[in-house]
């Protein structure tokens, strides 16, 4: 393959990325919901699309599936334009909507048979049955009689049943109990092991944390960061609260890397520290009698704060 430099002919063009967003922009009336998103996701990758509710995650996903028409820019899946070639894109992609709504009068089996017929892949019903067994979902019950969690399972089943090259999942684990989530995460692993790509959105850092290779952080319609998870983890703040008896010298705490909002009040020391500084913090605390200690992982908003403070520090 090693065609290097200006060889004549384009016998081996580089493979198309599985997902490519180029200046993807979407306006709803005067409101700009998505503002020039650029992103590529490669084969075999699990990409977490992270942001608070209303940030534009669902808009991005529905543009990627050609359900929305971009105001500017474009989205492509395996080189196919999401809007113009949406039918071809759909043949290669599985989709789990944020609030999956399915005809309640159908049974799960009728629904997957319907979709398998639309995909002209009758064998998908067999694969759906296997997935349903795995998630302990009864395909013969009417959808309207299913609990929220079971409906979510059915939505997962139909998204994965055709062994798609790309699976797009909008908040996939909402409504799933932890055991099912575990099974689901395993399914994601198997999916990428056979070379397929997963793009999923979440507003919960924890979830992305466990499965994603890379994450993109979206805020108010802009992609503010795309990072490997290890780098993101390093930036994530932990909220620490320690009740200490006796006077405290704040000096060693102030010198911790990335420490924020350090205060001592009524014998309670509070601060936010990124993960790499946790060790130093514990050692500094070790010199004092600690009556109580709590460490909580920062939620998404705090992660953004950490990210922004760093970005503005770099800019300064």
């Amino acid at each position: 393959m090693g065609v290097v430099g200006g060889e004549a002919g384009v016998d081996h063009p580089p493979p198309d990325p599985v997902v490519r967003l180029e200046g993807l922009t979407k306006d709803y009336g005067r409101h700009r919901a998505l503002d020039g998103i650029d992103l590529t996701v490669g084969p075999g990758e699990i990409f977490g699309y992270l942001g608070p509710n209303g940030a534009g995650k669902t808009t991005t996903i529905r543009l990627l599936l050609g359900l929305l028409r971009p105001t500017a820019g474009r989205a492509t899946v395996l080189g196919l334009d999401s809007w113009r070639d949406s039918t071809a894109v759909h043949a290669r992609a599985g989709y789990l909507p944020g609030e999956p709504t399915m005809n309640g009068r159908l049974t799960g089996r009728e629904l997957v048979s319907y979709f398998a017929a639309l995909r002209r892949r009758p064998a998908d019903v067999t694969s759906a049955t296997g997935l349903a067994d795995r998630f302990d979902l009864d395909l013969d019950r009417r959808i309207r009689a299913l609990s929220r969690g079971n409906r979510q399972k059915l939505a997962i089943v139909q998204a994965f049943m055709s062994d798609p090259d790309l699976v797009v999942l909008d908040e996939p684990t909402s409504g799933l109990d932890p055991l099912v989530q575990q099974e689901f995460h395993q399914l994601l692993g198997e999916t990428t092991a056979r070379g397929a790509t997963v793009l999923f959105s979440s507003h919960v850092l924890n979830e992305v944390d466990r499965v994603a290779d890379r994450v993109g952080i979206i805020r108010q319609g802009r992609l503010v960061a795309v990072e490997h998870l290890a780098d993101l983890r390093a930036k994530a703040l932990h909220r620490v609260e320690a009740r200490i008896t006796g006077p405290v010298d704040l000096g060693p705490f102030r010198s911790l890397d990335g420490v924020r909002d350090l205060t001592v009040e009524d014998g309670v020391l509070r601060c936010g520290v990124p993960r790499p500084s946790l060790d130093g913090l514990i050692k500094a605390l070790g010199r004092y009698p600690v009556a109580d200690l709590s460490v909580t992982e920062a939620d998404l908003e705090e992660l953004f704060l950490a990210y922004y403070s760093e970005a503005s520090a770099d800019a300064a």
Binding site: L65, L67, H90, Y95, P100, Y114, A117, L118, R120
Partner: protein
């Protein structure tokens, strides 16, 4: 070529379809059942209606004459002028708004995420609407023939067929309008309300055209005129009216397809 969306939609409509067909058969039975007593005093009924104010008469008879002394005249006024079209329109507008219904409920997202084009989905939904109306019209036609002959009202087979064909086209036309409004807006309420309003207006235009002179020129644009203005039960099929109806339906469905392909799917 597998028509999966058509098949699914038709299956979803199956149960209500049976209820509608039974309703139509019973309705015909009721009108046919009372005919013998009406017939006896047919001429006095006709006189009574002749004495009504002109506006009133125009509404009841959609501008045509009234003749209760013949079975065709009776059925025309009683069944085919008001009750029949109303029921067919309610059914057809309901079926035509099925696509908007899927969008309104949110089931359209997953349907369209399958590798099937939007135009194809819309056309199959339209086919399901047309097939549903065809089934109902067949039921109505059979009811007219069987119940009519049982009551000794011999309605000519071909004329009855012409009347239900024109009625069916009327229904499909308004169903296609519901499809168009749904394709444009994605709103179920609009997809039902707009065709219903247009139907009332079209009914009035056709009815009043005989007495309001400025309505005369636009009368032919009313689908009701295409349906019953030429009196199909007595005069048989009107190829012109069929052509006008089919063309209108084609335009409505074409516009619906074009607009549905262009816009965002609502959540």
């Amino acid at each position: 070529m597998r028509l999966s969306v058509f098949a699914r939609t038709a299956r979803d409509q199956r149960r209500s379809m049976v209820a509608w067909a039974i309703g139509l058969v019973l309705l015909v039975g009721m009108y046919v059942g009372v005919y013998p007593s009406v017939k006896g005093s047919g001429s006095s009924f006709t006189k009574l209606i002749d004495q009504m104010p002109k506006t009133f008469r125009a509404l009841f008879t959609t501008g045509g004459g009234v003749d209760f002394t013949t079975p065709a005249g009776y059925l025309n006024t009683e069944l085919l002028t008001f009750m029949g079209p109303m029921l067919v329109l309610v059914y057809a507008i309901g079926a035509g708004s099925a696509l908007a219904g899927e969008e309104d409920r949110g089931t359209l997202d997953l349907l369209l995420a399958n590798p099937i084009g939007r135009a194809r989905v819309l056309l199959e939904k339209f086919a399901a609407l047309a097939a549903g109306v065809a089934v109902l019209m067949t039921a109505l036609w059979l009811a007219l023939l069987v119940e009519g002959s049982a009551a000794g009202m011999d309605v000519p087979l071909a004329h009855a067929a012409a009347a239900v064909l024109h009625l069916g086209l009327l229904g499909v036309e308004f169903g296609a309008l519901a499809l168009l409004v749904g394709a444009l807006t994605g709103r179920l309420a609009l997809a039902r309300a707009v065709p219903a309003g247009v139907a009332v207006a079209a009914y009035l235009v056709n009815g009043f055209a005989s007495i309001v002179s400025w309505l005369g020129p636009i009368r032919a644009s009313s689908p009701f005129y295409q349906y019953i203005g030429r009196d199909p039960l007595r005069t048989g099929l009107s190829p012109t009216a069929v052509l006008v109806s089919v063309l209108s339906i084609a335009v409505l469905v074409g516009l619906a397809t074009a607009s549905f392909r262009r816009r965002d799917v609502l959540t």
